[in-house]
Symmetry: C2
Subunit: 362 residues, 2 copies
């Protein structure tokens, strides 16, 4: 605990301290097995318990209906960009994509690389992705509609999801999964790289509705088929055991310490985000980059009056134990990523620093 | 250290205790960063050092010439089964596969699923894969020859590699990488899931010769292209940071504690294997399953007089702190996996137990 900084990294990102402490405590001997979690067999009872508990917690927290399957895969969200169309889009199908920033763009491009029939039905590129498109016309009969629920780099978030008229939604939720309650039933598939809100890098949560599994063609390489992984409860091959273990403990931390599960988590997250956004709205020193009604509760992106001040801000913050506030290299500016594991206390420290910095430099 | 068992698991497998202790010691604060290794950015200087040090150690230990690149990917060796042909086998090319067991068979099948022109040029299936084929006729002009250097399940190992007349060798070395020195120059590509000799599951070492990179087609999904990963030094997307960190420390453990690098490692591994094989050869209670001149130094597979005794052996061994001795479910029998991190002391304990058990039950 000593000398720990407040971590506002966009991912890999802060993890709950009690989780890290538990990993540390049992690193040499996992639950009396006489081995580290890094050394136990993925076919052992001890690991089965970890895996099944992680799955159960995902189901419970998101209130998943019985026709959803929970998988833990590898390759990050970036691998889902092609796995989704490869598994779910037949040669005569078409799919709709909504472009709300860097990762949406990549998801669309990877489907195009496969030669898929995909269509960008909406984009907020005209104003540098500072908003979420409205009034979208979807393609009748589209196999799915893909969107990115939270845009880590651009600092926007879907607060409600669009009505597709029954077309299955597919969403990259890497940076806001488990940050709020949601109705999963419009979603055919949800994926999330763990390294923002769930655990370390190297494990990807995939939640898939059973009717989507029926679309999976038989002639895919086994490791790329959702079916292989679903049929074997994510142990078709040796899974990323340690990553799954950390996810399990992070979900346990939510269930054990946050009242009302994701409802409670959302309340804390709203409060944290308000602390920063309200402070910025009250003055004119900080300028949030996202439109007010599309602001992300996870990634608060903002500019200062000039780039020199932004550099000074990031550097002075670090001297004050506030780390990871530089904006993504593709957009510049500043960004505070305030995922589930970033405490209210950390955000209060940031807010206090921001107030002081504005006074000293405004 | 207390209550640790001797771990003969086939993978995930034993890791060096000093590595585990170091992971434990710096779990809350990695090298003074104020964050866990699980929380630091993959674009940070701190992680760059880890990654570049891991790459440098692979190059040093295997004495890689300058035209080899070292990558850390995800998806296990199972993902290499299709990535190899997808990246390296053009539509008009053909490739040769040598079948020495379960994993070779899978590698061949995954290439077939892709519709590739692949040919099984040799197999030891006729005697349940208990030997390594000799005098193989390769296809002139084949794009590559694929083999599995060590057969984890069948307990055989290539002690020398076949002369292909210049055709590039490609090898799954998951279960014997870094166990011995080798001449890499006949190899176009080497891959290894980390969870046997290198680190935890969830990271795959890929060593690729630059002329192989030139074969990679442009229209692959980015995450499946060796080029994407080579161009970005394994950080095209967020890599499995923790896994790479453990690999780095495991390689450091070899370099810091084993005299003469892989030459020294091989001497220890030969000594360990001899302890068990010699004991078995001296009596008739234990029956090694592999032909004498093709025995694996990593996975010692053997049978006892009957299955009841095998069960009793595994159970009593466990009571004596010797874990993981059950053979793979597909073949039965017993198996002692004695990878780099399994100490001479652990193997001596196993040998002593085996002697006692044979006396009591022979």
């Amino acid at each position: 605990m000593d000398n720990r900084v407040h971590n506002f990294n966009p991912g890999p990102a802060a993890l709950p301290l009690p989780v890290l402490e538990e990993i540390q405590a049992e690193m040499l001997n996992f639950k009396g097995s006489g081995m580290s979690i890094l050394e136990i067999s993925h076919r052992s009872e001890a690991f089965d318990e970890v895996l099944n508990d992680a799955v159960a917690r995902v189901k419970r927290l998101l209130k998943l209906p019985d026709n959803y399957r929970v998988l833990f895969l590898q390759g990050g969200a970036s691998s889902q960009f092609f796995q989704v169309p490869m598994n779910l889009l037949g040669p005569d199908d078409e799919a709709d994509y909504i472009n709300t920033g860097t990762w949406s763009t990549k998801a669309f491009k990877e489907a195009q690389i496969l030669g898929c029939n995909v269509r960008e039905v909406a984009s907020s590129e005209d104003r540098n992705f500072c908003y979420i498109p409205k009034d979208i016309q979807f393609t009748p009969g589209a196999a799915y509609v893909h969107l990115t629920s939270n845009n880590t780099i651009k600092g926007t978030q879907w607060l409600t999801f669009p009505d597709t008229g029954g077309l299955p939604l597919i969403s990259d939720m890497s940076s806001d999964i488990m940050s709020r309650p949601m109705d999963v039933t419009p979603f055919g598939l949800i994926y999330a790289g763990a390294q923002k809100n769930l655990g370390p890098s190297g494990v990807t949560l995939v939640i898939i509705r059973e009717d989507m599994l029926e679309r999976v063609p038989d002639n895919l390489p086994s490791m790329l088929s959702y079916k292989s992984h679903a049929d074997k409860n994510s142990t078709y091959n040796t899974p990323p055991c340690f990553g799954i273990y950390v996810v399990q403990m992070t979900l346990k931390w939510i269930e054990d310490t946050v009242e009302d599960g994701l409802e409670g988590m959302a309340r804390v997250n709203e409060r944290k985000a308000s602390l920063i956004y309200d402070l910025m709205d009250e003055g004119d020193f900080y300028r949030p980059t996202a439109d007010k009604d599309n602001r992300s509760l996870m990634n608060v992106t903002f500019r200062l009056p000039d780039e020199e001040l932004e550099k000074k801000f990031v550097a002075q913050a670090l001297e004050n134990g506030l780390s990871g506030l530089k904006g993504h290299r593709s957009v510049g500016g500043c960004r505070a990523s305030i995922y589930n594991a970033v405490s209210l206390e950390a955000v209060k420290s940031l807010a206090a620093f921001m107030k002081d910095f504005a006074q000293a430099n405004g």
